[in-house]
């Protein structure tokens, strides 16, 4: 490529860069949220990693999946958490294993809601809008399990 072509391209690209920055800047609420996100820091949590996500299953070409439920699994070495989120009914149901009655915190971008699991480790939350979520369990005083932040 000639030097002048290269210069022309660089000029076009920097013009585009400026134009995109002007027309589509990072929304202020995104940076405000990001700066505040440090308050979600949980130093001692045992992080349960996402191990399964039904949205990653491929749908055959030409077939539109009618299913509105999304299944997700999270695991630590000692615990497993399965959740199902229904995008139509906004219902989030889940189960922790080994099963036990325990307080379940649902962390959302806008705050925290709390419920209790039953003796089978099942729990549910109503009216959950799409967005990032994390579940936090404290099965004992010195134990805290947190699922990694996941976007519903």
């Amino acid at each position: 490529m000639s030097e002048s072509t290269q210069k022309g391209e660089d000029k076009t690209l920097s013009l585009l860069h400026r134009a995109l920055d002007e027309s589509d800047p990072v929304p202020t609420d995104v940076t405000d949220f990001a700066r505040a996100a440090i308050s979600w820091r949980t130093v001692d949590a045992d992080l349960a990693q996402l191990s399964y996500d039904s949205s990653e299953e491929s749908t055959p070409v030409g077939v539109r999946s009618l299913s509105v439920a999304r299944m997700l699994s999270f695991e630590t070495s000692a615990w497993a958490i399965d959740i199902e989120y229904n995008t139509a009914s906004r219902l989030l149901m889940g189960q922790i294993e080994p099963s036990r009655e325990v307080a379940v915190e649902l962390h959302l971008a806008g705050g925290v809601v709390v419920t209790e699991s039953d003796e089978l480790g099942r729990f549910s939350f109503d009216g959950i809008l799409p967005g990032p979520i994390a579940l936090v369990f404290r099965p004992s005083d010195d134990e805290m399990i947190k699922t990694e932040w996941t976007l519903l």
């Binding site: 490529m1 072509t5 022309g8 391209e9 076009t12 690209l13 013009l15 585009l16 860069h17 400026r18 134009a19 995109l20 920055d21 002007e22 027309s23 589509d24 800047p25 990072v26 929304p27 609420d29 995104v30 940076t31 949220f33 990001a34 700066r35 996100a37 440090i38 979600w40 820091r41 949980t42 130093v43 949590a45 992080l47 996500d53 949205s55 990653e56 749908t59 539109r64 999946s65 509105v68 999304r70 995008t87 971008a109 799409p130 967005g131 990032p132 994390a134 947190k146 990694e148 932040w149 996941t150 976007l151 519903l152």
Partner: protein
């Protein structure tokens, strides 16, 4: 003698001011300046200890990059916001786990890509695909209103007429801080050697689209509503 000769020394009143509130202000400014120049690793280490200023400096350093990656996947604004939020929350929970701090841009880019692709799969499955793109295609007129600079407006409108692969690549080439070709190749899942030629081709098309707009070509290649009558 009045007025006293101005020397480089401060007036007594100003000196007093600096001893008071001003000194704290100067210290804060100096601290912010030092954070601006801190390495990714220094900021990560401080943020991992809960240092708000260091964390904010990280956000300021990379928020445009994360945003551009999300928008590069043609996510509408609400979905791009969700992806950005998720990326920052993921970084908060991984502050202690980033092994090579200088690769933080790559880590953020990979996380943004994964969340963008995943949410695209989930949300586009719920509505007809065309609907999503119709919404995205509404944006030129909105952008046209927001952009004051005529040139910039023309560039954005021309950009919108490009194939989505070109739009994505050009988005990734205009991040702050810039992504490396290696990182871009990973995000769009293409061989690194193809980026240079594709970049040239996309910029050539952008230029052609701009020229055609300016000369009022009305070639029909633009979306209905974009062309002034």
């Amino acid at each position: 003698m009045w007025p006293p000769a101005r020397s480089s020394a401060l007036e007594p009143a100003e000196t007093t001011y600096l001893r008071g509130r001003g000194r704290l202000f100067i210290r804060t400014m100096a601290r912010m300046a030092s954070l601006t120049h801190a390495t990714h690793g220094e900021l990560l280490a401080k943020a991992a200890d809960g240092d708000q200023a260091a964390w904010s400096a990280l956000v300021d350093r990379f928020s445009q990059m994360v945003w551009s990656i999300a928008r590069g996947f043609r996510l509408d604004e609400a979905t791009a916001k969700d992806v950005s939020q998720t990326v920052w929350l993921r970084l908060v929970e991984n502050l202690h786990r980033i092994e090579d701090p200088e690769r933080l841009p790559g880590w953020l880019a990979t996380t943004a890509r994964r969340e963008a692709l995943r949410v695209k799969g989930v949300r586009e499955r719920m509505v007809p695909t065309d609907f999503v793109y119709d919404v995205a295609d509404e944006s030129p007129s909105l952008e046209a209103m927001l952009v004051e600079d005529e040139d910039a407006k023309e560039v954005v409108l021309a950009f919108r007429t490009l194939h989505e692969d070109c739009q994505q690549l050009l988005r990734l080439l205009t991040t702050d801080p810039p992504l490396s070709y290696e990182e871009i190749a990973l995000i769009i899942d293409r061989p690194i050697g193809s980026l240079g030629p594709t970049r040239s081709r996309c910029l050539e098309r952008l230029k052609a689209a701009m020229t055609s707009r300016i000369s009022g070509g009305g070639s029909g290649s633009f979306h209905a509503g974009d062309d002034a009558q």
